[in-house]
C-alpha cells in the first residue's frame, strides 16, 4: 500500500482520536489552566493522592518483577505436564473486568472472605488489598512478556558462555538477563501505567485512605463539583501517562525482533530442586492470579438462593441487555477503526505508535474530558459508544497489525499478478487470513467493553446501568445480602469474560500461518 493511501485510510481513526481523545484532553487543559499548574502539589491532601498513586504503581512494579521473572524463567526453561495450559491461562486476567477482580480480592482477603473462613485475618483497611489486586492483574503480563523474552535467548550464546567457564548462575546474569531486560523494562512501563491510571480496583479496594488520583478526580467531579481542581489533577496524570506511553512505544518498537531459531530447548525438570522450582512457580500463579477468581465462585456458591435471584431481577436483565448492546455497538465501531488503523499502519511506525495512546490513557481523564467538551451530548448513546470504542479499538488494531506482520507480502503480489484488483486481494486473501487475528482482537475489545466501568459512571444515564455499575451499586449498599448479590453478578461478568477468553484462545489455535 502506498504511503499516501495509508494516510488516507488512517484519516478515519485519526479523526476519531482527534474528536474523542485529543480535543477532550485540550479541553481539560483549558479547565485545569484556571488554576496555577502547581495547585495539586501545594495542597497536602492532593499531593498525598498523587504520591500514593505513583507509590502503589512502583511497589506493584517491584512485586511483579520479583515474582514474575523467576516464574517466567521456569515456564521458559522447563517442560512439564500442563505447561501449555498454564501459558493459556495467563491470558485470563487480561479479560477479567476490574470490578470482578476487586470483588475477587474482597471475597478472598476481605471481611468474611475465604481466608478469614479458613482461620486467617481479614484485611479491610490499609493498602494491601489494592496492592494484591494490582498484582493479580499485572503479574500475568510480566510473566508472559518475560517467558517470551527468555524464549528468544540464543542457545548457542548460552553454550558459548558455558564453554568459556561461566556457571549457570553467571550465564543467567551475563547472557540471559541482558537479553530479557529490555522486554522487562517495557512490561514495567505498562504495569506502572495500568496501576497509576487504574480506577475500578482503587475505587473498591483503596477505601478513603488509599484512593488514587483517578478516584479523587471522580470524587471531585461527581460529588464535589470541583471541576477546575479535577482538571488540574487529570492534566498531571495525563502528562505522566503520556510521557511513559511514549517511553513504552520507543521500547516496544525495538523489541519487534523475529523469533530466534536457536532458542534454548525446554527440558523436563530433574532432581528435587528443579521440581520444587516448578511447584513454587505454579503456587505463585495460583495464589496471585487464580485464587481471587476461585474465591468469587466459592463465595457466590455459598450465598443463598435469594442472592442468585438477583439474576432474574428486572434491573439485572436491563443491565445485561445494556452491557451487551453497548458492547456490540462498541465492538462494531472498534472493528472498523481497528481495521483501518492496522492497514494504514503497515508502513508507518508513527501510526503504529499512535494506537497505543488510548490503551494507556486513563479512562477517567478521557471520560471527564468528554464531559467537559461535549456537555450537550453527555448521556447520549453515540458519545457513550464512541468512548467505549476508543478504549476497545486499540486491541483490534494491535491484533490485526500483528496478523498483517505475520502475513507474507508475496501472497498479495501473487494475487495481483493472477488478476485480482487491490480490493479483491483484500477480500479474497487478506481478510480470510486475518480472520483469527480479527476474532482475537474483537474478543479483547468485547472483554474491555463489557467490563468498562469508569466511562459508564461519567457518561451514562441511570436507565443505562450496565452489569459493572450494578455490581458497584450492590457493593455500595450495606448488608450481607447485597454483598452476595454483587458476588453473583460478578460471577455473571466473569462468565462473559471467560467467553471472550475462549474466543481468543480458539482464534490462536486456528491461525492459518501456524
Amino acid at each position: 500500500m502506498k504511503l499516501r493511501a495509508s494516510w488516507a485510510l488512517a484519516a478515519v481513526p485519526l479523526a476519531f482520536l482527534l474528536v474523542l481523545m485529543v480535543a477532550p484532553a485540550l479541553r481539560l487543559a483549558v479547565e485545569g489552566g484556571q488554576l496555577p499548574w502547581s495547585t495539586p502539589w501545594q495542597d497536602a491532601y492532593l499531593r498525598w493522592r498523587i504520591e500514593w498513586s505513583l507509590a502503589q504503581a512502583l511497589v506493584t512494579c517491584v512485586g511483579t518483577l520479583l515474582l514474575g521473572v523467576p516464574v517466567a524463567w521456569v515456564l521458559a526453561r522447563f517442560e512439564f505436564a500442563g505447561r501449555s495450559w498454564v501459558l493459556h491461562a495467563l491470558m485470563l486476567p487480561f479479560v477479567v473486568p476490574n470490578l470482578v477482580a476487586a470483588m475477587g480480592v474482597l471475597a478472598l482477603l476481605g471481611p468474611q472472605g475465604v481466608v478469614q473462613a479458613l482461620g486467617g485475618a481479614a484485611l479491610d483497611s490499609g493498602p494491601w488489598l489494592l496492592l494484591y489486586g494490582n498484582l493479580f492483574f499485572n503479574l500475568c503480563l510480566v510473566v508472559r512478556a518475560c517467558t517470551e523474552a527468555f524464549g528468544q535467548v540464543s542457545a548457542s550464546r548460552i553454550a558459548a558462555a558455558r564453554t568459556l567457564g561461566a556457571t549457570p548462575w553467571r550465564v543467567f546474569w551475563r547472557v540471559e538477563w541482558p537479553a530479557v531486560a529490555p522486554w522487562l523494562l517495557s512490561a514495567m512501563c505498562l504495569v506502572f501505567l495500568y496501576c497509576a491510571s487504574g480506577f475500578g480496583l482503587a475505587l473498591v479496594l483503596g477505601g478513603q485512605d488509599y484512593a488514587t488520583v483517578e478516584v479523587e478526580i471522580y470524587t471531585l467531579v461527581a460529588h464535589e463539583l470541583e471541576l477546575a481542581q479535577a482538571a488540574a489533577l487529570a492534566l498531571w496524570m495525563l502528562g505522566l501517562t503520556a510521557g511513559l506511553a511514549l517511553g513504552y512505544t520507543a521500547l516496544a518498537r525495538g523489541l519487534a525482533a523475529p523469533q530466534r531459531s536457536d532458542g534454548v530447548p525446554r527440558r523436563r525438570p530433574q532432581g528435587a530442586m528443579q521440581w520444587a522450582a516448578v511447584a513454587a512457580a505454579l503456587w505463585v500463579l495460583a495464589l496471585v492470579c487464580a485464587a481471587p477468581l476461585v474465591a468469587i465462585v466459592a463465595k457466590a456458591l455459598q450465598a443463598g438462593a435469594a442472592a442468585w435471584g438477583v439474576l432474574w431481577e428486572a434491573g439485572t436483565l436491563r443491565a445485561l441487555w445494556n452491557s451487551l448492546r453497548f458492547t456490540l455497538l462498541a465492538v462494531g465501531l472498534a472493528t472498523l477503526l481497528g481495521l483501518a488503523h492496522a492497514l494504514a499502519a503497515r508502513r508507518s511506525t508513527l501510526l503504529r505508535a499512535l494506537v497505543f495512546l488510548p490503551l494507556v490513557l486513563s479512562p477517567v481523564a478521557v471520560a471527564f474530558g468528554l464531559l467537559l467538551l461535549y456537555p450537550q451530548w453527555t448521556a447520549s448513546l453515540a458519545l457513550l459508544v464512541g468512548a467505549y470504542a476508543l478504549l476497545a479499538y486499540p486491541f483490534v488494531a494491535q491484533s490485526l497489525a500483528a496478523g498483517l506482520d505475520a502475513m507474507p507480502r508475496h501472497l498479495g503480489q501473487v494475487a495481483r499478478s493472477l488478476g485480482a484488483s487491490p480490493w479483491r486481494v483484500f477480500w479474497r486473501v487478506t481478510l480470510p487470513l486475518l480472520r483469527p487475528a480479527l476474532r482475537r482482537g474483537m474478543a479483547f475489545a468485547a472483554a474491555t467493553a463489557v467490563g468498562e466501568f469508569a466511562v459508564t459512571l461519567f457518561l451514562s444515564r441511570p436507565e443505562w446501568a450496565t452489569l459493572t455499575t450494578r455490581v458497584y451499586e450492590y457493593l455500595g449498599r450495606p448488608g450481607e445480602t447485597n454483598r452476595d448479590a454483587a458476588l453473583v453478578l460478578a460471577c455473571l461478568l466473569m462468565a462473559l469474560a471467560l467467553l471472550a477468553f475462549a474466543v481468543i484462545e480458539s482464534a490462536k489455535d486456528s491461525n492459518p500461518h501456524a
Binding site: L411, A415, S417, L418, G419, R424
Partner: protein, 214 residues
C-alpha cells in the same frame, strides 16, 4: 514480445537499476543472474507492475503497459516461497486466477482439477497447501501460474527453497512445461547452472545494468 526500455530504479538514494533494456520473445526463457540485493527481484516486480519505475517503459507486443495495473497485465509471477494461499486448498489455489478472470467458481474448479491431473496432483486437490511437500507446493504454484495462460511468466528464484535432487528434477519438468505453453519467461536466480539449464540467454546484473553472459 516483452520489451523493457531504459528501466531505472533508485532505492534509498542508490541507483539500483540503470537504463535496463531487454527483449524476451514468445517461447523464449531469459535468465537474470546476480547476488542478493543486486536488484534482480526488483526488476521482476517492475515488470509485473508491483514496483513503480523511476524511468523507462515496459511494453508487450509493442503496446506500452507501464501504467497498467498488475492484475490487467496478464503476467504470472512465482516466488521462491511459492506464496500459496494457506486458507485455500490446492484446487482453490489453482482456480484463484480463473475466478479473478470472471469464471464461476464451479467451472474454475473443474478446470483446476484438469490442470492438477496434468501435473499429477489430482489426488491432492482438497489437501491443505501447508501439508504438501516442497516439490508438491512448487508444482501447485506452477499449475496456478500457468492455468490462466499468462502472456509472460516471471520466476523469482523458483527452486532455491528445494533440496538439490528435487531442484534438478523440477528444473527439467518446468523447462518442459514452459516450452509446451510457449510463453515469454523471465527467470531470476543466483544459480548460474540453473540459469544455463533453463534459459537460452543469460544476463548478469552489474552496477545496475545488464551484461550478456551467453
Amino acid at each position: 514480445m516483452l520489451e523493457l526500455h531504459n528501466l531505472s530504479k533508485t532505492w534509498q538514494g542508490r541507483a539500483l537499476l540503470r537504463d535496463v533494456n531487454l527483449h524476451v520473445a514468445r517461447g523464449e526463457t531469459v535468465a537474470i543472474l546476480g547476488p542478493s540485493g543486486s536488484g534482480k527481484s526488483t526488476l521482476l516486480k517492475m515488470v509485473a507492475g508491483l514496483e513503480s519505475l523511476d524511468a523507462g517503459r515496459v511494453c508487450f507486443d509493442g503496446q506500452d503497459i507501464t501504467a497498467l495495473a498488475p492484475e490487467r497485465r496478464h503476467f504470472a509471477l512465482m516466488f521462491q516461497d511459492f506464496a500459496l494461499f494457506p486458507h485455500l486448498d490446492v484446487q482453490d489455489n489453482v482456480a484463484f486466477g480463473l475466478v479473478e478472470q470472471g469464471l464461476r467458481k464451479a467451472e474454475a474448479r473443474v478446470q483446476a482439477c484438469a490442470m492438477l491431473e496434468r501435473f499429477g496432483l489430482h489426488a491432492l486437490a482438497h489437501a491443505r497447501v501447508m501439508r504438501l511437500s516442497g516439490g508438491e507446493q512448487q508444482r501447485v504454484a506452477l499449475a496456478r501460474a500457468l492455468i490462466t495462460e499468462p502472456r509472460v511468466l516471471l520466476l523469482d528464484e523458483p527452486f532455491s527453497a528445494l533440496d538439490a535432487a528435487l531442484r534438478l528434477q523440477l528444473r527439467d519438468e518446468f523447462r518442459q512445461r514452459i516450452a509446451d505453453v510457449g510463453m515469454a519467461t523471465l527467470l531470476v536466480t543466483h544459480d548460474e547452472a540453473e540459469a544455463r539449464a533453463m534459459a537460452a540467454r543469460g544476463y548478469a546484473v552489474e552496477q545496475g545494468g545488464l551484461r550478456l553472459l551467453w
